[in-house]
Symmetry: C2
Subunit: 520 residues, 2 copies
């Protein structure tokens, strides 16, 4: 048993060994890893805040950042201290009770990072007394969690060729696993593991196989060299199977598949890697030979199915909901959860049966979902109480155009581009899917396609946010809206929950501020 | 009587004729002009929020801005609509109940405005159905309050020579009175009045008299041409006397008085101008021949003294509190309210008796107050209930250095510079001064010298803020702290209060957000 650290003053020496993360469910008041537990369920066992009292939920403190980029962090909370990343590549420690800053790490960045979509950061991982953060200049840093001091600083890849690290890393045993962004720049994707102590790279899994490797034959000619399949959303981990689950992005170049004939493995896939070696155990490709920008950069959520069958579920950017056997990668079930016009359905192996006339063209081809998908990078949530899977759904089509891509290192690399649909306003919703079937149990409509993740709690609530700046709570069983707060800035992050001095808080980044809410 | 506009839907057509502003005290739920009334007292007659219930005060909505400059606005509230300025020179209309944006005006600015201290804006004035806002490129705009559409756009002065308009204008009768910033650039200061209907300039009062004008003799040689005396804080108005009261900034160049021998009228002064003509009725110079950057850019607060004597009171940046007869400008009383080491006191006419060895030198001269003064631009408040004058006080010395200034149009123009005092942490407080004597009734200490104004309410509360992001309420009679909220960003603005659908709100800008608080 770890000692109980009751005094804030002792929190300075918090240690998060691997065992604490593995048993994170035993610490409902902390939030030790990106999705709280290795399962990726983003479900908090806390239940002080309920449907009966959520109307009294109110902001009790805030912390504002001094950067205009999207604020996408999920905070970690360890024994009275909150650790957050801030755009572009900064880290701050805050008192959980008051929001008072304790220390700040501010990275000195080169003037020309290559990021497609904002100089952002999605969070941290902790191991022992160290925090780990990626940077938009594609480094991975270990910081002293007591002071913010840099312990080591490793280049993951050359940022000048289009690499960046925006993902929250994932600490597993003695390693820190990290993905790479840069799919829009024609990088060759990978997943890395670093020794937490020394920063030495222990393994690298190339998401685009090289010559002689299985899957290389799915890339015509030299197209693998710029095949992308980036890995910019945090994966999950099964300690019993010792497998790391991680989603991969679309193949490069986007939109134009002619220059990369083949299935383009392991793009738009879920890969299961041996945590010790990074060796591929299995893969499942959601969208072979994607031409619609349907990254599969999602948190793969680990759940127990009937009879204790180990499953992994994904609501994919391609608008299908998938249930897979996570020991084998075997397809169990797949159904659409959002509007889609590109596939007749999935075959027995889960491969999409693609409809004709859905490829990007010179004139433009209208397809649902659009380039941002039926959902996107932000986290879904799963409640073991309701056995519902909560997804923030985007209802938005895109007119896809094709063009001739030209690769130049470190420059934007695309084989076409998207347009909106004139006269059609996109929409969105929060959907609760029955986890076994993917059927919609309830739906809460949103004014515009969301960019915010969800949090489920044992208090019977689901928290989410809108582009219009509303942070809200829904009844987890019925979807009934119970509470809302106008944060004044778009919610582009995932909520989380923790306790401080025994009281439950819900925290979320919105606009340029982090909010901590509690019931008084 | 104006019609009562009870429906939000009707608020679109709100009209604020001069008579409404003049009788603003009859509309406690609105906030029609910068300091609520022409008196500049920044006292709200609202009393729903009291010492007994302020502990239940909580944020009910927020609005976040997308600019990192200081957010210094005082909102206006008219019949259910809030109008705010945002940095750098933007205007937004919000629903008072929800914070929902109704329209936004976003100014297209040149790339090179000349502002010493941030591309800021302190607020708006309204007249009829028009809003008036100044810009950092030194224009004055009239906007349609229903839509944000620009009705007219007048150049107040050439921004390339260092002018900017950051002050909230003041609507008086059919005119819009506006000051100018740019003291650090060697501008020649003025106060302007524009016809609200046409935008035509009706009068200009030069705060640095030209050849042949009274006061010109207080400037050696050609020094008047770059004499500064800027006017960047909103004045007040006495409708009976028909006088506009407006503070003026320090003479230019700063720190080095040798190049501008003389008293340098009307720098560091309060001027009383005829509202129709802009003619000087009287002036009172707080700091003749200033060399310490002690702008007198304060809201001059109009109060009734014993026997109904018309007074104007100023807690000056030079650390003295002044009571003047506002009909004549006659000095009534003056005492220090903050630490000062530069004057033995004030003589019978209120002129400071300056101590030797307080001038800036090559080696540096330590003087209290420092360059930011005993207080600064942010608003004080006065409660007719307590007869206390509330001032956010800075306790900070400066080591003043002298140098040789060189004037180049549009470039920074200073004859020296300030340094802090090694090893001495500056501090601050909120002080309640007995209005007749300037004696301190109570003092509430702050961790660092404040940059936030104060609001007094008939609920017996004084609201203020800190650099550390705490917005707080004090008991107006005792200074006892009753409530606080961590906003997460420095409070660099003045609070205000209003009602929406009958409920009292308190609003303040903090960090990059506007907060509306209420008791549920």
């Amino acid at each position: 048993m770890r000692p109980v650290l009751a005094l804030i003053g002792m929190a300075c020496c918090a240690q998060v060994p691997y065992d604490r993360i593995r048993q994170a469910d035993a610490e409902p008041g902390n939030w030790l890893t990106y999705s709280r537990t290795y399962s990726g369920q983003r479900h908090s066992p806390l239940k002080q805040i309920t449907a009966a009292n959520v109307h009294r939920l109110k902001p009790v403190w805030m912390y504002q950042v001094n950067d205009l980029a999207q604020f996408e962090t999920t905070p970690l909370v360890v024994d009275g201290i909150m650790f957050i990343s801030e755009p572009p590549s900064n880290v701050t420690a805050l008192e959980t009770r008051s929001g008072r800053p304790l220390w700040a790490y501010r990275r000195s960045l080169p003037p020309d990072p290559r990021v497609c979509c904002g100089q952002v950061n999605r969070g941290l991982t902790m191991l022992g007394d160290r925090l780990f953060v990626g940077t938009v200049d594609a480094h991975l840093l270990a910081l002293d969690s007591k002071t913010g001091r840099v312990i080591w600083d490793m280049e993951v890849a050359d940022y000048r060729s289009g690499h960046s690290v925006t993902v929250a890393p994932l600490a597993v045993k003695d390693k820190v696993i990290v993905g790479i962004a840069g799919g829009e720049y024609g990088i060759r994707g990978f997943i890395d593991a670093y020794d937490a102590k020394t920063g030495r790279r222990v393994w690298r899994f190339w998401t685009v196989p090289g010559p002689g490797e299985p899957g290389h034959e799915t890339w015509a000619g030299d197209s693998w060299k710029t095949g992308s399949a980036a890995t910019w959303v945090t994966g999950t981990y099964d300690p019993e199977l010792n497998l790391v689950y991680w989603g991969t992005g679309n193949p490069g170049p986007d939109y134009n598949g002619d220059v990369r004939q083949g299935d383009n493995l392991y793009s738009c896939s879920l890969v299961a890697l041996d945590a010790e070696t990074g060796k591929l155990k299995w893969h499942f490709q959601f969208t072979p030979h994607d031409t619609h920008d349907w990254d599969s950069n999602h948190v793969p959520v680990l759940i127990d199915g009937a009879g204790g069958r180990k499953l992994v579920i994904v609501a994919n950017r391609n608008s299908f909901y998938y249930v897979l056997d996570r020991a084998t990668g075997k397809f169990v079930r797949g159904v659409p959860y959002a509007r889609q016009t590109w596939a007749k359905g999935l075959d027995d192996n889960g491969r999409p049966m693609v409809l004709p006339n859905t490829e990007p063209t010179l004139q433009g081809t209208l397809v649902y979902p659009g380039l941002h998908g039926g959902t996107n990078w932000y986290s879904p949530a799963y409640s073991p109480d309701t056995r519902l899977f909560y997804v923030a759904v985007r209802e938005e089509g895109t007119v896809y155009h094709v063009a001739t891509p030209q690769y130049r290192p470190g420059r934007y690399f695309a084989g076409g581009g998207p347009r909106g649909i004139p006269g059609v306003e996109p929409g969105g919703s929060v959907k609760a899917l029955r986890v076994e079937t993917g059927e919609t149990a309830w739906e809460f409509p949103l004014h515009s396609p969301p960019w915010a993740g969800l949090l489920s709690t044992a208090g019977g609530l689901v928290y989410g946010g809108t582009n219009e700046g509303i942070f809200f709570a829904l009844d987890a069983s019925s979807g009934k809206p119970l509470w809302r707060f106008p944060t004044g800035g778009p919610v582009l992050a995932n909520p989380m929950s923790y306790t401080s001095e025994g009281k439950q808080y819900v925290a979320v980044a919105a606009g340029h501020a982090l909010f901590a809410f509690a019931v008084d």
